[in-house]
Each structure stands twice: as C-alpha cells, then as structure tokens.
C-alpha cells in the first residue's frame, strides 16, 4: 500500500510543499493575516460617539454640558481658531455657536456631521422647552451574518481555494517540466493518471488544514459562525478545490517556464480577485457585466459558500453555482489532458 505509486507521488507532492516555508505562509498564513487586518479595519462600530464643539463665548458651558449629557455625543468648548482647525480636519463633526439664532457650522456632505446636527439640535430644542409629542422605544438589531467580517470570511475561503489550487498544481507541474523531471518520469512505467491524481489527492489533504485554519480563525477571533451544515461547507470546498486544481492543470499544461506560467496564472486570477465579490459585493458592477461575473468559477464558489455559511442554505438550493464550479473543473481537466505537454 505504502509503496503504491499514487501514495508515493502524493507523499512527494506533500513533502515538497510543506518543506517550503514560503508556500506555507502564502497558503495558510496570508489569508488569516488578511482576515485579521480587514476584520479589524472594517469592524461594525457604527458612527460611535460623535464629537461636537461649542464656540467659546457667553453661555458656552451651559450648552456644552447639555450636549455632553446626550447619549452618542461628546462636547468641548473651543476657541474660534482651534474650532475651525478641528472642523476642517474632521476631528469634530459639528461646531455649535451659541446665541440667537444658534448657529450650526458643519460640512453638510459628511454623514457624521449631519447626524451630529440632528442630535445636537434635538438637545438644543429640548433645553429651550420643546416637548416631543410621540412616545418612542428603540429596539437594536445586531444579527449575526450581517457584519463585514461575516461577508469576508467565505470570500477569503473561496479566494484561497483558487490561489492554492492554481499555484499548487500549476507551479509544481511547470517546475517538474523545466527541471526535466516530467520527462524522467515518462522514462519509467509510471501511469500518467497517477501523476495527475497525486496533485488532486495532495490538494485534498491540505484543503482540510486550509479550511479549518481560516474558518476556525474567523470563529475564534470574530465569532463568524457557519449557519448551514459543516457537511455542506466541506462538500463545496472539496468541489471548489478540485475545480481550481483542474484549472491549474490547464494553465500549466503547455507552459515551459516558471515566468510563463506565473503570467498565465495572474491573467486567470486577476479578474476574479476584482470581479468575484471576495472583498465587496459584485452587485456594484454594472448590470451588463453581471452575466459574465456570475459565470466565473470564483463568483459561483463564493456565492455557494456565503449561502451556506451566512444564510444557512442547503446544498439542494445551490444547483446553479455548484453547476458552474463543476463545469469549470471538468472542462479544464479534460482540455488539459488533451493538450498536456509531457516533456
């Protein structure tokens, strides 16, 4: 069993990979670093506390004290030079000039400033005796799955499956070709199918580590859960990994140099990095582009992963995206086998 060529070829693949520290980082470390950085940068904190200032002068401290009592506002008294500077640089959202009339000085194109104006005006009006006629109550919604990080983690998972599939297969194949190792294997009774299958098998082994690392990190750091079944996530990632391994095989099928295959990989991956909705929704692209964008394998994979992880969809509901992912994999693999350069 251990000496079966498929086992030995797969072991060789895996050893070559895990003995390359750079590869380990790019496949396992990089997506986690990215998730961490983006998760921190875009965490949903809302507008938070709005800083407003009161211009120094008669009655400034009364107004400032009233403003500071309002939830969501902090207030300070500033002289006119400092106030102008802080308003210009965005440190304060609004400057209140006491008097009659009370003047609000702010940049009306800034969402925060307009919000601050509404809040501050309510405080000022109530202080002058306004009574609100309607009784209201707040009910805050903070549903899991609605944060940016919830959107991001499945996208990073998809992008990672694409990257490691293409690089993992394409790079190794072309390297074996340039080093004449492929030709040397052709001089043995080795079956070609064993050689190609060993790439798929080693991908599947690393896939589990890759997915577990990223999903585990998202859960531990940001409490990103999986609403659907883990089985469905596993099925989709395996399908995605196989599909991108097929695409990697196709990209590597003719290239004779590492430079050539690197160029081809970037040509294949770049549109998907941008278009496939990894970092932001592809709905932002014009309607005319949507059919093209949706036909990309990474778009379909991201859609399927998000449907399961965020919306809790079942596999049966994901026929269209999974069909697209499968079709890309099968077609790439079949074409790659036809045109593969074995020496």
């Amino acid at each position: 069993m251990r000496d079966h060529p498929l086992v030995q070829l797969t072991l060789a693949r895996m050893r070559e990979f895990y003995r390359e520290p750079e590869a380990i980082f790019w496949v396992f470390g990089f997506p986690i670093v990215l998730a961490f950085a983006l998760g921190i940068a875009f965490r949903n904190r809302g507008p938070g506390e709005l800083r407003v200032a009161v211009l120094g002068g008669a009655g400034d401290s009364t107004v400032a004290a009233a403003l500071a009592r309002a939830p969501g506002l902090t207030a300070a008294v500033l002289d006119s030079g400092e106030a102008r500077l802080q308003l210009r640089t965005g440190r304060i959202a609004l400057l209140v000039v006491p008097g009659d009339p009370v003047v609000y000085r702010y940049d009306s194109t800034r969402t925060e400033s307009r919000l601050a104006r509404l809040e501050a005006d309510a405080v000022v009006q109530r202080a002058r005796g306004r009574v609100d006629p309607a009784r209201v109550a707040d009910q805050r919604v903070n549903e899991p799955g609605s944060r940016y990080i919830d959107f991001l983690i499945p996208g990073l998972l998809g992008m990672n499956l694409m990257g490691s599939g293409l690089w993992g297969v394409g790079f190794s194949v072309v390297q074996a070709r340039t080093k004449k190792l492929l030709k040397r294997f052709m001089a043995t009774p080795m079956r070609r199918s064993h050689y190609l299958l060993s790439f798929i098998l080693s991908r599947l082994v690393f896939l589990f580590v890759e997915v577990a690392a990223l999903v585990g990190f998202g859960w531990w750091m940001f409490a990103v859960g999986v609403r659907g079944s883990f089985g469905a996530v596993a099925f989709i990632t395996v399908l995605g990994a196989l599909s991108f391994a097929g695409l990697g095989m196709l990209v590597a099928s003719r290239a004779r140099t590492i430079e050539a295959v690197s160029g081809l990989m970037n040509l294949v991956m770049l549109p998907m990095w941008i278009l496939s909705g990894t970092f932001f929704s592809y709905a932002r692209f014009p309607d005319a582009m949507q059919p093209f964008v949706k036909a990309l394998p990474l778009t379909a994979l991201n859609d399927a992963l998000r449907a399961v992880m965020i919306d809790g969809s079942r596999l049966g509901e994901l026929g269209a995206p999974l069909g697209i992912v499968t079709a890309w994999g099968v077609v790439s693999f079949v074409v790659a086998l036809q045109i593969f350069r074995w020496r």
């Binding site: 079966h4 070559e16 030709k183 040397r184 001089a187």
Partner: protein, 315 residues
C-alpha cells in the same frame, strides 16, 4: 539454441529538427552484456539518438527494437520500461526530498525493484540516505540519478553523459558503479564526450559527428586504425616563418600523418625513438626553436581529430 536477441537494434534512424538533421540514417546494434559508447562532440546527435532508443522521442524514420520489442505505446511500452534503467542528461531531482524518499518514489513505479538499501549500496550513498537532494554534491546527485535508473533491476541501462562536469574522483566512483552493473550481467549504452571514459568503460564505441556514425569498433581497433600508436605534438616560438612544411614532416622516419593545428602541430608516429630525434634535427637545421614538445599514446580523441580534422572540445 537461438542466438540471443540484441538488447538494442536500430536501422536507418532519422530525426530532423526544423532545418537541422540531428540523426541521419543511423544503424546500430548493441549485443548482450556489452558496454557500448556513443562518442562525439556536443551537437553530434548522441542525446537525440539515445532518447529515440529510450522511447522518449519519436524518430521521423527508421526502426527501433529494444530487448526485442518496439515502442508501440500503452501497456506494451510500460512492460518494456519495466526492464530498462534510464538516466537523462539534465534531470534535476526534487531538491526538498531526501535521497531515500527519491529512491522510494522511483521504486514505486516498478513491479520488480531493488530495495532502497540495495540500490543505495550499489551507488555507495548509504550515508546520505536522509540528506536532502539539494544538499548533495554534483557527483552524489549523479550517483543518485543512476540509483533511480538501477532501482528497476534493469537488463539494459541507458546513461546520457553520466560524468559530465564531475571531478575525477566522482567520475571514478561512477565508473565503479557501472562496472558492478556490468559484472552482474547488465548491458549498457552510454554517451560521453570524454574519450578516456569510453576507452576505459566501453567494449565498443561508435564515434558520431553530425548525426552519423563515422567510426565503429573497439577502442583498441579504432586507435590501431590510425596506423600508429603515438602522437607527438610540438609548437615553435616564432611561429610560421621557420616552420618546416607538412611534406617535410611527413617525410621524417616513423611519421604516419601530420595534422597542422592552430597553436601546435601533431604528428602520428609509429616509432617515437626514431621520429623525435629526426624532428629535432630538422628543426635545428631550420633554426627553429621549440616552445612545446609532448608525446602521448594515441587516444580516441586522436581518432576523432584524424577523422574530422577538428578537436573534440571545440568541434
């Protein structure tokens, strides 16, 4: 009992690349238990020939029979590959695998294979068993490449320039490996551009140039075909003005052939003890002063030069 099938037989082998004829109408037979050498300068067509015989390159024309079988593809070719050991000229084995892992990988492709211990013993690499391939010296890498060829217990071993670029000690170690394989009854086809390697290892050699065999025989018979066993080389301090003409040199006693070269003149000589004093006498009469005088036993190198008029290394 029928005569044994020659391990290698090819006829009228032809291969062209674009406008270059790499191999032209080549006929070759290698007999059982023979060590056969393909000799020639770079670009003579040695590698193309050996790769056609190995079934890695398809010839444009001609017939190839290896161990009585043809390269017909599929299961038939796989069965034939089970019986061959092949080392290619510039294979770079995976650097991040150990010696043992590499041998085990190649071993897994064959049904009847040596154990890892046996084959590492054959090439004397037991001590490097757990070392990464990338950390090996040139000679050790080359022995590992031969180990990967030997692991199949081949009947026929193909070696394409196995010692090119190696230091003399590594070269001798590889010669020992080949010697042991032959002692165990194997047949070898090797290519080389080191004539002393061919003289030392091969029963028969074919000297190739421009895709053709220009001489074929045992090293001894090829050298004997020069008609003389020694070569005398000399050069003069002040160049051509006082140099004797080729016809004067050819007339000296014991001299069989004269080959004027760029920086020196070579004489093929039957009797050194008569030719050298005569040469010195002639030079003295002409008032020419020697800057170099050397004699050596004739080699296959001299055979190549006499056949082509070119040195092997700059051919």
């Amino acid at each position: 009992m029928p005569p044994p099938v020659p391990p290698i037989r090819c006829a009228a082998l032809t291969k062209r690349y674009a406008d270059v004829v790499a191999v032209a109408e080549l006929d070759l037979t290698v007999n059982v238990r023979e060590c056969f050498g393909l000799l020639g300068p770079n670009g003579a067509g040695k590698t193309t020939t050996i790769e056609i015989l190995e079934g890695l390159t398809a010839p444009d024309r001609g017939e190839v029979e290896i161990l009585g079988m043809r390269w017909t593809g599929g299961a038939n070719s796989r069965a034939l590959r089970e019986r061959l050991g092949i080392q290619l000229q510039d294979t770079q084995l995976a650097e991040k695998l150990t010696v043992e892992e590499t041998v085990r990988l190649f071993r897994s492709f064959y049904r009847a294979a040596h154990s890892v211990e046996e084959v590492l013993g054959l090439v004397a690499l037991e001590e490097k068993r757990t070392a990464w391939v990338g950390k090996l010296s040139g000679g050790q890498k080359q022995r590992l490449a031969v180990a990967c060829a030997l692991v199949s217990r081949p009947e026929l071993l193909f070696l394409d320039e196995p010692t090119t670029g190696l230091d003399p000690q590594s070269r001798r170690q590889l010669w020992d490996v080949i010697g042991r394989f032959r002692a165990a009854g194997g047949t070898v086809l090797l290519t080389t551009h080191y004539m002393e390697e061919a003289e030392r290892l091969c029963d028969r050699v074919a000297i190739m140039d421009h895709g053709k065999v220009i001489a074929l025989g045992t090293p001894r018979s090829l050298i004997a075909s020069l008609g003389a066993e020694h070569v005398v080389e000399f050069a003069l301090t002040d160049g051509a003005t006082r140099a004797p003409s080729p016809s004067e040199l050819a007339a000296l006693p014991g001299v069989r052939a004269v080959r004027p070269g760029v920086d020196r003149t070579a004489l093929t000589v039957a009797e050194v003890h008569r030719a050298v004093p005569a040469l010195l006498g002639l030079l003295e009469r002409r008032g020419a002063e020697l800057s170099l005088l050397a004699t050596h036993h004739a080699t296959l190198e001299d055979v190549f030069v006499s056949l082509t008029g070119r040195q092997l290394r700059d051919a």
